[in-house]
Each structure stands twice: as C-alpha cells, then as structure tokens.
Subunit: 263 residues, 2 copies
DNA sequence: CGATTGTTTGACGGGTCTCAAACTAAGTGG
DNA sequence: CCACTTAGTTTGAGACCCGTCAAACAATCG
C-alpha cells in the first residue's frame, strides 16, 4: 500500500503538508481526489462574483488573482495564487462567491468537486483540519495585504509584494542575487497594489535605479534581497511556510504546539 | 435535556447560528464551553504580534480591532470585531499570532481555552464546520477591506465602513434615519481606513453637510441609508448574514445548498 | 473646575493620478 | 524571416487628493 507516485494533485498534497501533518491514509485520500483539468487563457475570468461554486480550483500551472471592482471599473486584486495553491477552498463551506477570479496568465486549473472534498474532510479529521488551516493562512495573507495597501507607500508596496511572491513561489532568498519568473504586467501590478500603472512604472524605475530589484522580460531579478525586504518591511512569518518548501524564516513557534485538532 | 437558558456564551452561539445549523447537542456543547472573563481598558493591547495563543477571545461587550504597524509607527487596523464576534478563532489551527489586537473601547472578553474548542470540534463535526465557516467569513470581510482601502477614496471608504458596522451590529437599515452607538474616535477611524485623522475629519464634515451620515457623541446617525450605501458601494452579500440576526440582504443562494460537510 | 482627550480648521507640501504620446517587445500572418 | 499589429513600457506636464504641521476649540472625566 504505497502512495501513487504520480498524480496531478501531488503539488496540492505538498502545499497542505507545508503546514499540516497528514497520515498515510490521508495522503492517499488527497491524491485520490477526482478532478477535471481546464485551461484558462490570460485575462479570462473563471469565477464570477455571485457564482455558487460546486468545485474548488487548484492552480496546477500559472497565476490567478481574485478581485473586485468599484463602480468606476477600477479593479482591486485582493489575492494572488501561484502554482500549488487552491484558489477557493473556502467555497466548500461558503459556496457563494463574493469575488471574481481571473487567470493572470495562461493557466491550468484542476477543478475538484466539493462533494469529493467534503467526503475527504468527513472521512479524515486531519484533512478537515488541513483545509481549515489553509483557509486561515489565506486570511493571514489578506491581513498583510490590507497593511500593504493601507499603510505603505508605492515603493514599499512593490517591494513587499515581490518578497511575498518570491517566498510563496518557493524561492529561497540568499545573499546572492537571483531571478524568478513573474509574467505579470504593470497594469496587473497596479491592480494588486491599489496604484495606477503609470505610478507603478515610475516606482519600478526607482527600485531598478537603486539596484534593489528589477522586473523585465517576465521575470523578477532580485538584486539585493536584504534591502528589498527592508524597503518592503517584509517578515515572512505570516506565510507560515515552515516545513521543507521554502526557508524564508526560522521554524515557527507554532511548530511545537499541538497540531492535531479534530480526532 | 433542554438548553441552559442563560450563559455568557449565548451570543457566541447566536453568531454561529447566523451562518451554520447546529444540532441540539452541538448547541449544548457550545454553551458548556469553559471561559474566563477579562476586562480590557480602552486602547489596551491584549494580543501582541508573535504571541502563541492558548485560548480564543470572544467579545461579550465592546469593540476590538486587530492591527499591524509599519516602521514609522503608522497603525493599520485590518479587522474590527463587535459584540458577539470571536476575535481569533483562527488561532485554534494556527496559534502563532501575526497581528496584535486592541480594545478600541473598554471591552469585556471571554477567553475560551483552545483545548475546549478543539474538543468540541473533535466531538461534533457540525461545530468543526461552523468554526471553519466563521474563519472563512472573516476572510471575506478582509477581502472587502482590501477593496475599500485599495480602490475607494476617503468618502467611499468611510461610507462603506459605516454600512458594514451597521449591518454587523445588527441594525436593520430601513428608509427612515436611525442611530447606533459607535464610540470610536476619528484617530481610530483613520487607522481603519488608511487615512489621517485630519482627513477623516474633513471627509466626515462633507458627509454631514450632505446629510448622508453623521458621527457625533459616540454614535453614528444614518441620515440617508440609500445614499450612504451608494457612496460606499455597499452590498451586504459578503457579510453572509442570512438567518434571523440582520436582514441587510435577501436570503443567499447558498442557503439552498448543502450545509453539512463533516459528518 | 481643571486636565485630558478628541474635534475642527487653516496653510502648505508632496505623493499619486490623469491625460497624452512616444517607444519597445511580443505575437501573427504572409 | 520579415512586415505588421497589438500589447506593454516609458516619459512628461499638470492637477488633485490626501498628508503634515500647527493651533484653537469642544467634550468628557475626575
């Protein structure tokens, strides 16, 4: 009785295990979840505000953003999701969508039926808890997003976003400069940060001129991680990325506490 | 075997039942939770960033805000909690606090031990699900808060906040003007909205002069709900306040869908 | 009644927005 | 592989929303 070696949901399992401990049975149950893959073109909405979800969307490849709009049509992206993230696990318990989701680049989504997710959560308390925990970590990200948009200027906002994306994408900031793919336009960045594209461009120029970070050719080039983190006031604790995935931080204090709630 | 008629946790049960259906046994288990009451003075922090929580904090009376600070010391309040809310139910599954919490006015908190909350969730799937759902709804509020701070001007932000607080406090906007207690200073409002106290004051004056809303003597006076909701682009759907508590919206589509996940 | 906290108003400066246009990179079809 | 088209980036000039600093005023509390 070994785990299936290959499954498209392996990255989902890996994400869950960044923050939750699962038994062998639970791992198997995750990998055995049914799914339906779909391809979503860049700039295409695949969840619309008001939809009642019947499945959750896992990002196998690509970038996804959830957003709302004001009456002028200005868009605010409230969360971004990278490879390995489940966009809307929360719809399992609150199926009515109060935001829209869009593929920021060409993206592959695996739709996992709520019925199967519910069954897995019902059968395995550890899975229910892991799902709950993922939702809570999502809200920690939102919390930081509010901080970013509410109380930091354009330069800090950009720096903070780059730091967060680097860590969440699994890149390990070391002393040396490094590069990671980030095929996001300045328009999309503006929508994430509550700024205008023009101002994003100028601020980006400032960071480039100061040799902190550069965005070009669909990639972010971290020139000086320490200064970037300083400018963005970045502390990775809130990402809760203990475990093997990324080592942006020291092991969290929570690690020593009871992790198993539902049993 | 009837429910205890009186318990300090009755309002907690009422909040849960706004969005989740509980069995008789589950209701009893909620009311039987142990707790320890504390009084927190205005402007006093009772959770500090970095704390590892061992209990969750229920607001029996008062106002609470969670916040972060940037290096200049500017504070951003990311969520507010009113009578009947659990401030940090999420710490049951992620005990490390990534924000601080402060009483915005003199407040009575009931501390409920994580061990008891865990036991209740483990014993009753319906409770586990209700807790999970509360966390998800919290993140929906955060989502809207990002929208507010990111893509609305000062006037809209204020209007939106007043609408949200009115609905969450259980006031039922009708055609006629109405008043509800809101003992929050303009400094605190500024920290919620990502503005300065001076600008909050001027914006408040604008709304007062236009006979939309007034804030004075620790109370909000809604002069024209329709215009307020229009200015704030307010749609109460995201509050998920179906059920008896408040009727800011029509019954949600989610109401017809399966509500029981973990059984 | 005095002390403290919170509100209101003014003058000025700055960060960000708006509008507009030139420039560059990426994608397409012949 | 080259024109062509489209999408995205860069830069400039001016305006506006909001921030900053400062001081007077009002409300609350002991």
């Amino acid at each position: 009785m070994t785990l299936p070696v290959q499954s498209s949901l392996t990255p989902f399992l890996r994400t869950l295990e960044l923050r939750s401990r699962l038994t062998e049975d639970e791992r198997r149950a995750i990998l055995a979840l049914p799914f339906h893959p779909i391809h979503v073109a860049a700039n295409q909405d695949f969840i619309r505000q008001g939809d009642v979800a019947t499945h959750s969307c896992f990002v196998l490849e690509g970038f996804v953003g959830t957003f709302g709009q004001n009456k002028r049509g200005d868009r605010q992206i409230t969360s971004v999701f990278v490879k390995g993230d489940m966009v809307d696990l929360m719809t399992v318990v609150v199926p009515e969508c109060v935001w829209s989701a869009q593929a920021l680049i060409a993206t592959t989504i695996l739709q996992v039926p709520h019925s199967a997710l519910r069954q897995a959560a019902a059968d395995f308390p550890g899975i229910a808890e892991a799902f709950w925990r993922e939702c809570v970590i999502n809200s920690a990200l939102l919390n930081e997003w509010v901080m970013n948009v509410g109380r930091r200027d354009a330069r800090s906002r950009l720096a903070h976003l780059f730091c967060e994306i680097a860590c969440r994408s699994g890149y390990q900031p070391a002393g040396a400069p490094f590069t990671f793919p980030f095929p996001i336009t300045q328009f999309q960045l503006a929508d994430m940060l509550g700024l205008t594209p023009v101002h994003v461009n100028r601020t980006l120029k400032g960071l480039r001129d100061d040799r902190v970070v550069d965005l070009a050719h669909r990639a972010v080039q971290i020139l000086n991680w320490d200064r970037l983190a300083q400018v963005g006031e970045f502390d990775a604790t809130y990402l809760q990325l203990r475990g093997g995935g990324s080592a942006c931080q020291t092991p969290s204090a929570a690690e020593q506490t009871q992790m198993w709630v539902l049993q």
